[in-house]
């Protein structure tokens, strides 16, 4: 039985695990964007926050993923359901690229443009939403792209704590020493990562200011 055959025969499960995988990555990326962009803005505008915020995100990044899943397991509400836990862990990992690129994007806006905007009487929020964020958008998006690609890979490990996703095939394959089963999880995951990379990369180029 070849791989293609296997995927076809188990297509219901393949689809289900892929959707689970997308759910884990999608929700965690959304959370990372909602938390990371404001943190990036804060560290770009108030330099005092720059080191603590980016430092913390950096430290989180260095924790091995399997260990992080393990650390979070005994936490009351989180430990109840594996997908909550996986989403939190994935969110934490996705924060760094989002924060860092928001920071870089905003700091990279031409100072003359910001000075002109301030001088003509834009308020802080007008400057942020009409000038700084639109001009930083493609850089921010490239951070989101990195976060998504990394999350797709990391989410396979979430199966180790029972959160589902394509990692199920991989772990099952490892246990049964079945390469085909491993590939049945790894290949769709790779395809997901590549398509996210391609799609977001395209969007990023479209939004790049001239």
């Amino acid at each position: 039985m070849n791989l293609f055959h296997f995927l076809l025969q188990n297509r219901d499960q393949v689809v289900e695990l892929t959707l689970e995988h997308l759910w884990l990555v999608g929700v965690s990326t959304l959370l990372a964007v909602l938390i990371g962009i404001p943190l990036g803005i804060v560290s770009a505008h108030w330099p005092v926050w720059n080191k603590p915020v980016l430092g913390t995100a950096n430290v989180i990044q260095t924790i091995p993923s399997l260990a992080l899943f393990g650390f979070l397991l005994p936490v009351p509400w989180l430990g109840d359901r594996a997908d909550r836990l996986a989403i939190l862990a994935l969110t934490l990992y996705a924060l760094l690229p989002v924060i860092r690129n928001t920071y870089t994007g905003i700091r990279g806006v031409d100072p003359a443009v910001v000075e002109a905007g301030r001088g003509m009487g834009l308020t802080g929020s007008q400057l942020l939403f009409q000038v700084e964020l639109p001009l930083a958008l493609s850089v921010i998006l490239s951070g989101v792209r990195v976060a998504v690609v990394v999350s797709v890979g990391l989410a396979t490990i979430a199966a180790a704590i029972g959160a589902g996703g394509l990692g199920e095939f991989i772990f099952r394959g490892l246990a049964m020493v079945n390469n085909q089963l491993i590939l049945a999880g790894a290949i769709p995951a790779a395809i997901l990562a590549l398509s996210a990379d391609f799609g977001l990369g395209w969007l990023e180029r479209r939004l790049r200011p001239r």
């Binding site: 002109a116 905007g117 003509m120």
Partner: protein
């Protein structure tokens, strides 16, 4: 705001000093009045405090001592956003919004102020004509314009909401000599029609003599003297004459062309 009488200076500096947060003093003991409808040129070399002085007017900087008043009200006591909306600001690097078309760049403040679309469109058209640009440039982006065109759009944007005061920080400094000459000429004719109170920063004596109704000479964070262009050329002040002498005999031509 109560209407200021004709004798009240539009802008007034009283014993103003400015120091960086680290303590370095950039400006000290500045007393200066700018009258209605005049073009006051702040002349001096790099680091003399001209740009600092300019930024104290629209409160991009706040004085560490003394008081800056605009239309008789201390800038420290006024709403900073309203203050800036009433003052046009043009800088050397222009700072056009690269993601906006020319039309949106010029129309940004009117739009924020809630003008209707038709009024903004007419105003943009009027301003483009005023600064000598074709109407069809309205839909272009800044990167599609030449340096001279960009600075013209910068001036149009500063004039959009019809401010009574215009601050210009070396606006023509980055342009080639021909374009600069042309824009200086247009500035003079514009100023005759619009009667704005202008504070203009430059390090170029020719430009100062040509455009200014008065010249304030600055050096090392202090105001040296304020003179009319004609008096400036004849001044016995050592610094002023040093400036004039550095140009040798070439100044007569300048004087004949521009100075009022």
């Amino acid at each position: 705001m109560e209407p200021a009488s004709t004798t009240t200076p539009v802008i007034e500096f009283r014993d103003v000093a400015y120091a960086l947060p680290g303590g370095r003093q950039l400006l000290s003991g500045l007393n200066l009045q700018v009258q209605r409808d005049e073009t006051l040129v702040l002349l001096g070399r790099s680091g003399s405090g001209k740009t600092t002085t300019l930024k104290l007017i629209n409160r991009l900087l706040t004085p560490s001592a003394g008081e800056v008043s605009v239309n008789g009200t201390s800038t420290a006591a006024s709403d900073v956003i309203r203050l800036r909306r009433g003052i046009g600001y043009v800088i050397q690097d222009v700072g056009l919004f690269p993601h906006f078309t020319v039309e949106r760049n010029i129309g940004l403040i009117p739009r924020i102020e809630g003008w209707d679309a038709e009024r903004i469109r007419r105003r943009v058209e009027e301003l483009l004509q005023l600064v000598g640009l074709e109407a069809n440039l309205a839909s272009r982006y800044p990167h599609q314009l030449s340096g001279g065109q960009r600075q013209r759009v910068g001036v149009a944007r500063a004039l959009a909401a019809d401010p009574a005061i215009l601050l210009m920080d070396e606006p023509f400094g980055a342009l080639d000599a021909l374009t600069r000459d042309q824009l200086q000429r247009e500035f003079l004719s514009l100023q005759q029609r619009l009667n704005k109170t202008v504070v203009f920063v430059t390090h170029d004596l020719r430009e100062a003599l040509r455009l200014g109704s008065r010249i304030a000479l600055m050096e090392a964070g202090r105001l040296v003297t304020v003179l009319s262009p004609n008096d400036f050329v004849r001044s016995s002040d050592p610094l002023a004459s040093a400036y004039v002498n550095s140009f040798g005999g070439g100044l007569d031509a300048v004087e004949n062309r521009g100075a009022r």
